[in-house]
């Protein structure tokens, strides 16, 4: 709704600007007509008067139009900025998706083919070349490791699991992977979450989950993190809780605070709200609540 309001405000400002320009043209037209008649009547010596009048009108109109634009910009400043942030966030997400797909569907597959070719080369070696075979097999294993790293990077940028498995299973998988990789127990529960969640909502919640879990396992110094995904009426609620170091959410945001800002932006983009409850030494709870039916 906010963006619609912004468009309406911009539209009315544009209409006023057009009205000013039309008035200006009419004034110029009228005064020019007066000057032309004066010249026809042989009063050319007074023709400079309409020119002065026209100049005065034009200058007044330009000043008025300028003031209108400046005040209009100030009044509507919040709306274009919000639209800009929305666009920035969507563009950023689109870039991540494109790079992730490129990694997964192109580079990852080329590396897979390379692994196959190395295996084929190893199999084609004549007997008595054990040393060479061992070296080629070692290369194949390293290439396979590279393929796995590419796959992991691709999933971190844009989870194809979210596309294939849906929000609940992809979230469960993310928590399981974080547990395995970070040696922190990330417990996941879900309750009554619909199977089909709009893609933008699912992506926003998934991104908040990624960031919140990453923050908890990286900064909270805890052995256990709880994640819950549940239905709340027409909303989906994500809650990530740790009993770790905590922080002051009101402290000026440094580099680490960028994650919180990004989470807020992602949730705001789908008309949801994010609550961060944390204090130094008192753990952190991050709660994102997003309506499933996003207003158009």
């Amino acid at each position: 709704m906010a963006s619609t309001g912004g468009r309406l405000a911009m539209a009315s400002k544009d209409r006023l600007s057009v009205a000013v320009v039309v008035t200006m043209l009419l004034q110029i037209g009228c005064v020019w007509e007066v000057a032309r008649r004066q010249m026809e009547l042989g009063e050319a010596r007074h023709a400079y008067l309409p020119i002065i009048v026209v100049s005065t009108f034009v200058l007044t109109d330009v000043a008025f139009a300028g003031a209108l634009i400046v005040t209009g910009k100030r009044r509507d400043g919040a709306e274009p900025m919000e639209e800009f942030r929305d666009r920035l966030m969507r563009t950023h997400e689109a870039h991540r998706t494109r790079i992730a797909r490129q990694l997964h569907d192109d580079i990852g597959q080329r590396v897979a083919v390379l692994t196959m070719e190395l295996d084929g080369l190893s199999d084609a070696l004549p007997p008595g070349t054990t040393d060479l075979r061992t070296r080629i097999q070692a290369l194949s294993a390293r290439t396979l490791g590279l393929a796995k790293d590419i796959q992991a990077l691709s999933h971190a940028m844009h989870s194809s699991k979210l596309d294939y498995l849906g929000l609940v299973s992809a979230s469960a998988a993310l928590c399981r992977e974080a547990s395995d990789e970070q040696h922190v127990e990330v417990d996941f529960r879900s309750d009554d979450v619909p199977e089909r969640v709009p893609q933008d909502v699912a992506l926003a919640i998934f991104r908040v989950l990624q960031e919140a879990v990453d923050n908890a396992v990286t900064h909270a110094d805890v052995a256990h993190v709880s994640v819950a995904l549940r239905s709340r009426g027409d909303d989906i609620e994500l809650e990530v809780v740790d009993r770790g170091l905590g922080f002051d959410p009101k402290a000026p945001a440094g580099d680490d605070g960028l994650g919180l800002i990004t989470m807020r932006e992602r949730v705001r983009l789908v008309r949801g709200e994010l609550v961060v409850d944390s204090r130094p030494g008192g753990g952190t709870t991050i709660r994102a609540r997003v309506p499933i039916r996003t207003p158009m």
Binding site: D105, R110, M116, G120, K161, D163, Y164
Partner: protein, 139 residues
Amino acid sequence: MRKRTMPMTETDQPRVLIVDDNAAILKRAVSLLSRACAIVGAVSDPRAALEAVNTLRPDVVVLDISMPELNGFEVVGQLRRSGSTVPIVFLTVDDDEDLLRAAQAAGGIGYVVKSRIPSDLLTAVTEARAGRAYVSRMG
């Protein structure tokens, strides 16, 4: 759409349709399977695969999961809704247990990781034709 129809053999070789939008993988799979299978079609467009299953009547479909517009799971969904029971061997670069479970839930009988095509694909196709599951080793 890239579509290729091979001559039929009179042997008991399984009739296989291969679907993958990656040309290198498609070529590799055709080259490998044609030693022991009748490749009835090799297509890169998942929508063409739907038509090819109906017209070419393969014994087994080797199907990539990650494809633009229509992924492998969606292709199987459409095939099953249209009444086809053809066994599916999924192909993927993802060496991943979650995706394997999703592939099984979608109705796949085989799951082959692309880097293991030389060692696994023919076995997976043969097993699928016999109604048995085959999964590439993970990890």
